[in-house]
Symmetry: D2
Subunit: 326 residues, 4 copies
């Protein structure tokens, strides 16, 4: 039934590493896939319903967008991260067939990809001029146009593989061979992925005041419940410099008692705290949970306190005159 | 109805500061009051039902018992503190009528009272010999016996006032004029005094292991919820030196959300944590509660988390294949 | 004397907001100013001595580079931040004289600037196509070339002011009118700006292990000495995902005792901690320093401990047999 | 040489467990040993020079004195703990020769000893009357006097062994067979026992203000340097209830860098912090010291900071105009 086909958008165009991330989603192959020219556009498509979810970079991206993603999901209409994806980053140098590496003078690619291949370029094509492209794929596809004003492009291997008109002159030209980029799939609220046992929870916590210790109070809410953090970034709120919010990834799912309890603590300290989602870790690595931070420990603890409090109805009358038997 | 008359015991005999503390309890005047020779005996009377409650010293006492009280309520059958009392401590020197201060050679009193009047004694009756008594009152009443082997006693003003056979030779002879002692009224579980807004909660927390940071973890459970501590003591468990429990007084009532939450945290870290009671502060001083640690802040925080979790039933199916609309 | 003229590089080309930041440096007007095409290139010029210092964005930049800056100064040959600069960000839309806003179809600018003007563009030139440029200035200057394939550019007001061939069609078209970007001036080690009383210190701290609490231990080194943090970001080390370093801005100067002590604490926990510099805050706002974290408090504290330790030479012999007078 | 003979005092009289603790000091056998009737008297003898050191109980004592010791060394003229001693506590029941256990009606001993033997007494001599004594030894020796008004005493085995006139009716009658009491040897300042590698440091820290978090700030000074605590007690200052000092035993010696650094931190937060001594642990158990809290880690950390600061003389001039080469 066509109506049930999902619509995904991603930081495009086709052929970017972000699309590679999207293709890791089980039903993406059969879904409608719409490229977006930047992260804000992609997220807006989710917000206005023209897409069901958007795949965007969240860390260390080749095509940029990290800061944009952090800021865009921290403000405006609420969104939810429902999945993360890791994509190995490797680059190839492509040109039109017949072009030799010695003939290359001008190379196009995204600025961040250019930065990540500079050692190789300096060593192999010294003096090459850089022509900016809005994405690695855009730079590569531009070579196929008639009026192109550059000789080569740096892009993902998949683009070269899919375009017979592109010839690979060199592979694995990135300066950091093991590079991996992290992406997240963002949807509207209303979807909470089931707990897998190897989950992450992302929150945005505005700093209540710029006072010594405020950050510690926030982090202490996690530490007190034994919740480890895998990412933290302070970001200026944009209102004026000096006011911050924290974007935080914590190990565990909001359905884990220790995470739920930590989130409640955050909400007390900073009531505008925003929950951005709990979702399975791409690396599927389960955290080590100490016995005293297990769901069972929380359940037992609250049962114990409830039992103490249950005596109150009984006792309050007597206590009024402090006489245990009056 | 006679059956409803309460029975209280206290660290006796009659005339001690502990009895003065007991007399602050509204219905104590009309109740049965039984002196006990030591703290353990008093608490055992509560445990076996022969008394409804026991008044015992918990801090800085003249007649001892502090350590005994801490240890006795930390172990054995559970008990509850349901009230605290503060008693100003002042001492008088008494003798039989006709005895002059220059004739005094031997003075009897409790060891702790002796320690607290030593400056005065050294200055006014140099060389006086100390005769130990099991309590200040016992020392004073001993003067009325035929075969007494001492000339004077140091006791509470009330004893002298009630005994025509005792003559006050000097008043306010304590070295620390503003001294105040704290006592607690202990009953069997089943009675939880109503929250007054100026309360204390006492707990005993066994240290789970002797590792660096274990104590900090325990205290952090209070700090994270903005709960102030007014007393903390580590006590060896008695099993062997090096294993400890902590006896802690925290501001607030277990019916305060911040205290309940802190107690749950303690229970997780140290499941043998013992709740010893929540009760009105004798000084009726209300703590300053920051907005983010108010009951309302806790209620709002948990409502927020519950709302997030409520989405799970909806979303879990979809999340299984990470497609938001499949 | 020409030899004494400083050489500065900046994330160029001329006309970028980064150059505006550089022009805030007192002697920049008379210095040699070399644009660099990206942050890595700029920093490499400092490292190899072809520039004395580089001005690069560190937070919230229009022309990118933030992540690149953080990562580039965290690794490789050591560098020092010696100054920060704040630049208000405002955008103008420029075209060649005679071009009307209704004629505009294609607009060039840096991707981040495009993102920051999208609301205005969507409202005023709906359907405009985006042509990426390597910087806002490059996009604007491209309009002056014969073979330009776009109609307008978004750039800093200063570029328009300096180029008679550019006509301003609209001013203040940024979506966030009060936007300010932070830049830092980076030099080789060997220069430590004098303490001003309103300083910042930047450090990079590799997380020793991914264990619960490691981040807290790091931050606690600051909290224990009353040092406030104004920025914190975890960054993957690049070696493999899951291993992190923290880039941290702390209030105060390494010449402040509390900061020096905190840094020593960091070094113990993470010996590869990198000091990136102490420098005056661009906003010249002095922090509130509690009396117990003042230089005087540190001096007095260490004097006190030293006095205690001075007794050791005296005492150690006696202590050997635990007899105080032997 | 007689002049070099040390003079020790102890919480007496002879035959108490405190004297047993004193006899563990290597040169005590050949020293002058003066009993004191209470802890204050003993410490005053040290303060006025009439004794070189005093052995007094600090924890869990049979003859009392714990609270007195804590308070007495926390105030007044400074003193130093130079040694600790552990004494196994076991009790015997003694009577005059010929007295049978069935004949016993009245038993004398110190109040605390009485409390610790009550289970045995209740089971074996039900209904026995308690006659207070100022010490266990005093009670036992009283049996040898003509006019004694009780039949038996509870005391340390050593008293019975040394007094042919006392007959042991029962051994090991304490309710807690493995009981051990901790004592400390206190001298005037000027003696700092050498570091053994298995040391304790005792401090008294007045709480600067009764604010939430003040206690945590104090304890954090230890935690931040990885110093474990083995004892902590809050004590009212005596001035008025609600003001506290903390008596703390920490693992390690002030000559350990981590302890010295923690002490400096305490002094900043609470300048009236009192150092009561560093001394070998009676159990000779060395703490586990993490590499990052070793002396070497502290030395390296401070060397690193010093190196950073050494650049200041060089750089300050240049930094004044923020130009690295001007």
């Amino acid at each position: 039934m066509p109506a049930s086909r999902a619509t995904y958008t991603f930081l495009g165009p086709e052929g970017t590493f972000t699309e590679a991330a999207l293709m890791q989603v089980p039903d993406a192959a059969g879904a409608v896939r719409i490229p977006s020219s930047n992260v804000n556009t992609a997220l807006d498509k989710v917000r206005d319903g023209s897409a069901d979810a958007a795949m965007v970079p969240i860390e260390n991206s080749v095509e940029g967008g990290v800061t944009a993603t952090l800021d865009a999901i921290a403000t405006g209409q609420e969104l939810r991260i429902i999945r993360e994806a890791l994509v190995p980053i490797s680059f190839v140098l492509v040109a039109r067939p017949g072009v030799d590496i010695t003939q290359i003078r001008r190379i196009s690619t995204h600025g961040h990809a250019w930065a990540q291949c500079r050692l190789w370029v300096d060593a192999n094509i010294p003096g090459a001029e850089y022509i900016p492209a809005s994405s690695t794929a855009a730079g590569a596809l531009g070579l196929l146009e008639d009026d192109t004003h550059y000789d080569a492009a740096i892009c993902a291997p998949i683009v070269a593989a899919e375009q017979p008109g592109l010839h690979v002159l060199a592979e694995n030209i990135g300066d950091n061979p093991g590079a991996v980029t992290r992406f997240v799939l963002v949807s509207r609220p209303g979807v909470l992925p089931a707990r897998t046992g190897a989950d992450k929870t992302t929150v945005v916590v505005p700093l209540p005041e710029d006072r010594p210790g405020a950050l510690m109070e926030i982090l202490d809410q996690f530490a007190t419940r034994g919740v480890n953090l895998s990412r933290i970034e302070s970001r200026p709120t944009g209102q004026y410099l000096g006011h911050y919010f924290f974007s935080i990834d914590a190990d565990g799912h909001v359905a884990d008692a220790r995470v739920a309890d930590a989130l409640a603590g955050l909400h007390r300290i900073s009531p505008a705290t925003r929950f951005l989602g709990s979702y399975g870790r791409a690396d599927a690595q389960s955290p080590v949970v100490a016995p005293h931070t297990s769901d069972e420990a929380f359940r037992a603890a609250h049962a114990w306190v409830d039992e103490i409090l249950a005596a109150e109805t009984l006792g309050s009358g007597m206590a009024a005159n402090a006489s245990p038997t009056a």
